[in-house]
Point group: C2
């Protein structure tokens, strides 16, 4: 009846699938066997948070473990508002990075540079670094993007008191409407935290050597970039935009499945029946499609969802419909994963602090399957 | 007789201690119960490699799976020699990073910048990126260090055909002697690879999302920085230099142990009796102490080793005596961990490629121990 041999076998296959890597008080991913999947941050349901909260409120909750009261939230929003601008050295460096760079590479570099300019210290402690990064994470790519692609030096200060409003205002240089702000706010909340996903686990592994805050976050950005993780939302919109009609999409997806091609934005390592975040983000995509009078992409996305379920019993994950939300907000495609990062910095920061509070060096073992003992042959005789 | 509950319990405590996280053909850490600890790279013993090989030969072995022949090694050394210089944009950026920065933060930033300037592509494939980084990893910190601390723009080209010789020449601006080159070469070999240590596991986790080469390596640099990992060699020399005599060291260490302070450079997560690399690096430290006519630090280090063994049965790991080797080579203390990285880039690259060749997203689970379901309270009522 021992399951230990199965556990070891699974581990050897890599990926740590099904392996518990530690305790956490931050996020509960509930996976029921009959599809009753749920997601809680610090005990609050994702439904309550995405319907009622602001992203700043959720960031506070993740980092401080409880919801802020009215005064605390107002003070926090004002604090973040003042921390959005970047040091001039950081801006110079962003100007030196080429226009053809990948925006996640730009973010990773911006974050790494800031780690040199404003290093973690007793005075600039982990909460200060976390708040700074939550406030200025979008600044790295917004500044770089506008400099290289619109030939402008962006003003990174705005009077918008929410992260969502600020990003839309700086990007589009006009006041976003309420619907747009709400849609981006809700999407940021849904992206904020998701247990021991690959980027968060990277952050915790780096933190476990007692390295500094920025080093851990740079690792998280790097992990998020991959198409099997954050990169999926960019892949999703590229896919959706390939098709002209729902029928065209149906045929195209079926062909992809026949050719055993991976369709990005579907399925999940942990969820097996539904992604509880998907319902929300889909509703926002629908509202925005109506608001923008677009009758083109939303029906195509819907048909792709139907085909994937009928053919493979695969469901859309958060990345699929969030791609559509970002599209309707006129956000450039290569900014989709950076926006994911702009939200997830809150979850990463919470996990980094939790790892430090009860640290144990993360250092697993490998199962050696390489060559047996080799006799040394001097260079001359090879 | 089931051990699965123990396994799960261990996992919950974090650190993945004793957990096999995947297969690997690169490195075998042999841990016998009676102290017969061993370390093999691709089947070759660390004794053979450290006694006979060049660092470039070992890098080739790690990346390509077999030893190079004479022609291959000569071509490879010449290739690396030509890849040491940095693009001018990268140099400008290194000049913008403050003089008080941590050198690992400088390396992480330099590597991140290079990822924007020379991104991975079909033309610039993973072997090209690996060789480029193996060649220029020391350039990031040597250029930055000489610019800010010696007010010079370093010439990063040298005719030295070994990494060890090149580093010593650029740093000291004179021809290193054979003993110095050999000591650094052997130390680089000992640092090149060590299975699923925290930085390598970070690299593999980032690579498992199918992110790019530089993103993974930036994560590795960040993890190595921590004092529970690469940072230990800097801590070790700071400790050794605190004492004036062996007697002074004995008393000081005993006092630290009484106060339950951590003595860096001792013990190991995997090795339990001896670190097989330590014998070699200690012999080099001894040779260099004789060559430099220093009768001061080596005896102090020896006494610390004795006290740690007698009091705690803890043995010096690679970081303890390598700190002394670097010291005798007149290398500034804050360059010790960067030199570790300059070597480990070879092992990281090999693991990154191995991860990609048989990829599985690294995504473990957390054991949720946080608050139960919380009722949402509107902001106004908090």
């Amino acid at each position: 009846m021992s399951t230990s041999s199965n556990v070891v076998k699974k581990n050897k296959e890599g990926g740590l699938e099904g392996i518990i890597a530690g305790n956490s008080e931050i996020c509960e991913v509930g996976v029921g066997s009959h599809g009753e999947h749920s997601l809680h941050y610090r005990g609050y349901t994702i439904e309550d948070l995405a319907s009622n909260a602001s992203f700043e409120e959720v960031a506070w909750l993740l980092l401080r473990g409880k919801l802020p009261n009215k005064n605390e939230l107002a003070t926090y929003k004002e604090k973040l508002r003042k921390l959005r601008d970047l040091p001039s050295t950081c801006k110079h460096i962003l100007e030196e990075i080429p226009a053809h760079a990948h925006m996640l590479d730009v973010m990773r570099t911006g974050c790494s540079v800031l780690g040199n300019l404003e290093p973690e210290s007793k005075k600039h402690d982990q909460y200060a670094v976390a708040d700074r990064l939550i406030a200025c994470f979008s600044s790295f790519f917004l500044y770089w993007y506008k400099f290289h692609h619109q030939k402008k030096r962006a003003d990174l200060n705005s009077n918008e008191d929410t992260t969502a409003g600020h990003i839309l205002r700086v990007l589009h240089e006009k006041t976003p409407n309420e619907l747009q702000k709400q849609a981006l706010n809700a999407t940021l909340i849904l992206y904020a935290e998701h247990e021991f996903n690959a980027s968060t686990f990277t952050v915790r592994t780096i933190a476990s050597t007692l390295s500094d805050f920025y080093s851990a976050i740079c690792g998280g950005i790097g992990a998020l970039k991959g198409p099997l993780h954050g990169g999926a939302n960019e892949e999703a919109i590229i896919l959706i935009q390939k098709f002209m009609t729902p029928e065209d999409a149906e045929n195209g997806i079926k062909q992809m499945l026949n050719e055993k091609k991976l369709v990005m934005g579907f399925g999940h390592r942990v969820y097996k029946v539904v992604d509880p975040r998907s319902t929300f983000v889909k509703a926002w995509a629908n509202k925005l499609s109506i608001d923008s009078k677009d009758k083109h992409l939303y029906p195509i996305a819907n048909r792709i969802e139907e085909v994937m379920w009928d053919s493979k019993h695969l469901f859309p994950n958060l990345d699929f419909y969030s791609a559509l939300v970002f599209y309707y907000l006129n956000i450039p495609t290569n900014m989709f994963t950076p926006l994911f990062a702009t939200s997830r910095i809150s979850g990463w920061s919470a996990h980094l602090m939790e790892q430090r509070a009860n640290n144990r060096l993360i250092r697993p073992l490998a199962n050696y399957i390489g060559p047996s003992l080799q006799k040394w042959i001097p260079l001359e005789k090879r």
